[in-house]
Amino acid sequence: MAAIFQGVGAAAALSSSLSNSFDSKKFVSSPLRKGASFAVVRSDGRVNLNPKGRRAQQLISNAVATKSDSAAASSSSKPGHELLLFEALQEGLEEEMERDIRVCVMGEDVGHYGGSYKVTKGLAKKFGDLRVLDTPIAENSFTGMGIGAAMTGLRPVVEGMNMGFLLLAFNQISNNCGMLHYTSGGQFTIPIVIRGPGGVGRQLGAEHSQRLESYFQSIPGIQMVACSTPYNAKGLMKAAIRSENPVILFEHVLLYNLKERIPDEDYICNLEEAEMVRPGEHVTILTYSRMRYHVMQAAKTLVNKGYDPEVIDIRSLKPFDLYTIGNSVKKTHRVLIVEECMRTGGIGASLIAAITENFNDYLDAPIMCLSSQDVPTPYAGTLEEVTVVQPAQIVTAVEQLCQ
């Protein structure tokens, strides 16, 4: 059985041997498109072209454009389609499931219910119960089962209804998911994707407002990415599914209804790359997930006040894209990190360490890090607001940094 799952080339044989044994009503099979055209867009504007590269040129302006330019750019590029972030995730997932028969989805309420955030809506009808699996509420075991299935070559996408629930599966994620490739001497790869919403929502209470990036970041062997726009949500989802490594994709509860125009053609976002949101000269602001929007809001105020912040959405939480970040630091010499993670041992703390270690000579001022307070998220609206970083605080911090 292990032989079936080896390599992309075998997938064509796989789909043909399985297509007659699958119930054709429930299952749409398409052989793996080996020559599928896609472009990997890099944040510095370079593009790894494939044979059908011409369309990719127009792709660049979309991805790297600053927020203010995106409206103008989209009208000049090949028209894409507008959708919400959760629909972008769904599209990415659906395309990957069509492309590769080994991709399956496991989670609570993902099948018949359509997903608690509608990310897997309609997939169960299209792909059947064996590929979109409703699990009981047993995170530890179904994450373990996903990892076991991945060991044989399947590519499960495990959905945690809320990232906080993945704490119950921490043993499986840390010991088995992260380490099996190493302890088996390279015999097994675990191409699993673990995804789910986290972050502070609207008064969801302490246990449902957790930011677990910090807990997972030291597990060796996994990659972590955080999506923030429909464009990178779809791109990262696809890249994560195609990656041979276990990837944890962090989504945010409040970002699911963001609308954006994304390209029609197949594209992926590089898993280890940061995104240049707004080039600038005075200060580098590093952020990810929901805080990107708080930062952009603060950026408007800052621009009016005469500052020129460079905003980078780091996207890749493990490993950090020190190349993009480094180039930025060398240009601006001041760094502000804005994150939703906890102050103690958070992503920001690791990022400060990484930047100080590598770019200390380029810094004109100590790195500032704005993170959430080290408290369980309170229920009361006013208190919850104060727990996370607000745009006004970002503006003050930049002013302080640029003195």
């Binding site: 699996l133 299935a149 499986q172 099996l180 302890t183 990656s243």
Partner: protein, 394 residues
């Protein structure tokens, strides 16, 4: 209570050998032949929610001699590992399987290499029965390059992908959901194969086991959960850890079978039965009533929570190798001397493998960073300037 259990097994052993019939007059060469032989298991099977299989097991001289050889090899290997550990060539944790060899050998006789086996940390013998070589075992135990995991796994992390042996896991109970995941993948690809997920009586109290069992039963997965009940979970006897030590019944809605785990033929019969059952009806639990002579691991003397009398009692009454030896001798399949020669041969094999393993070098320092990530979509760790590559993670 463990002692009363021993008393029961003593009375069982009096009906140790009751060959029902030997079909043909058997030839003498020790290589054996395939003429069928029917042997009765030492005790009947006890079942829960299913029909127990018959006590009469089909076998043949060749198989019995293979059992003897394989179990003698495993026994020798574990005892050699004991000496190596005491000589400080093996460090860390070392969990030995001697006494339980019948489970590994009997299971292997009932299945193919396409069926998956996953077990916990007491995995040296299961690895060998799946086709692992002695060199790989000893080299891995000593942390050398020739080891099955290149020296980076250790005693608790033996894997053999090409014969579907999935390890080798250190955390108690964590391998059971993995095993159900393997069964899920088998169902997904419609392989007609099954997965044996082994765990101990200590792990039988883990919540994730019942969670995985629930999902397996719901989704009709071909998962066979095998509880190797050696009556002690680390240092705690089973009656002190489990309210209901009838592990084969604890699946509740899932059928179960209790098997004498010291009788390789009974294990073979049970596994065959379980495989047929799992392919048709979903998960089943097998409880192998077995015993380990060593302590839980090399750092456990094994005598603080049980008496030496108990250990030697089991060794005399129920030892799996002795049982097969008596079976072979009583059916005239080989002489006493021939069996002793096999044991000598096996001893030499083990010694040779150890010598070879000692010559294997330690892993290179650069191996520290290999296999952390698999290659895919540009996983390379660059230095800050991307001018120099600090470590390429392959």
């Amino acid at each position: 209570m463990a002692l009363s259990h021993l008393g029961a097994s003593a009375s069982r052993s009096s009906s140790l050998l009751k060959p029902l019939s030997s079909a043909l007059s058997l030839r003498r060469p020790i290589s054996g032949d395939n003429s069928p032989l029917t042997v009765e298991t030492s005790v009947p099977f006890t079942s829960h929610q299913c029909e127990a299989p018959s006590r009469s097991v089909e076998t043949n001289p060749k198989e019995l001699l293979t059992f003897f050889r394989d179990m003698a090899l495993m026994r020798r290997m574990e005892i050699a590992a004991d000496s190596l550990y005491k000589a400080k060539l093996i460090r860390g944790f070392c969990h030995l399987y001697d006494g339980q060899e019948a489970v590994a050998v009997g299971m292997e006789a009932a299945i193919t290499k396409k069926d998956c086996i996953i077990t916990a940390y007491r995995d040296h013998c299961t690895f060998v029965s799946r086709g692992g070589t002695l060199l790989e075992v000893f080299a891995e135990l000593m942390g050398r390059q020739a080891g099955c995991s290149k020296g980076k796994g250790g005693s608790m992390h033996f894997y053999k992908k090409d014969s579907n042996f999935y390890g080798g896991h250190g955390i108690v109970g964590a391998q059971v959901p993995l095993g159900c995941g393997l069964a899920f993948a088998q169902k997904y690809s419609k392989d007609e194969t099954v997965t044996f997920a082994l765990y101990g009586d200590g792990a039988a109290n883990q919540g994730q086991l019942f969670e995985a069992l629930n999902i397996s039963a719901l989704w009709d997965l071909p998962a066979i959960l095998v509880c190797e009940n050696n009556h002690y979970g680390m240092g705690t006897a089973e009656w002190r850890a489990a309210k209901s030590p009838a592990y084969y019944k604890r699946g509740d809605y899932v059928p179960g079978l209790k098997v004498d785990g010291m009788d390789a033929l009974a294990v073979k019969q049970a596994c065959k039965f379980a495989k047929e059952h799992a392919l048709k009806n979903g998960p089943i639990i097998l409880e192998m009533d077995t015993y380990r002579y060593h302590g839980h691991s090399m750092s456990d003397p094994g005598s603080t929570y049980r008496t030496r009398d108990e250990i030697s009692g089991v060794r005399q009454e129920r030892d799996p190798i002795e049982r097969i030896r008596k079976l072979i001798l009583s059916h005239d399949l080989a002489t006493e001397k021939e069996l002793k020669d096999v044991e000598k041969e096996v001893r030499k094999e083990v010694d040779d493998a150890i010598a070879q393993a000692k010559e294997s070098p330690m892993p290179e320092p650069s191996e520290l960073f290999t296999n952390v990530y698999a290659k895919g979509l540009g996983v390379e760790s660059f230095g800050a300037d991307r001018k120099e590559v600090r470590a390429t993670l392959p």
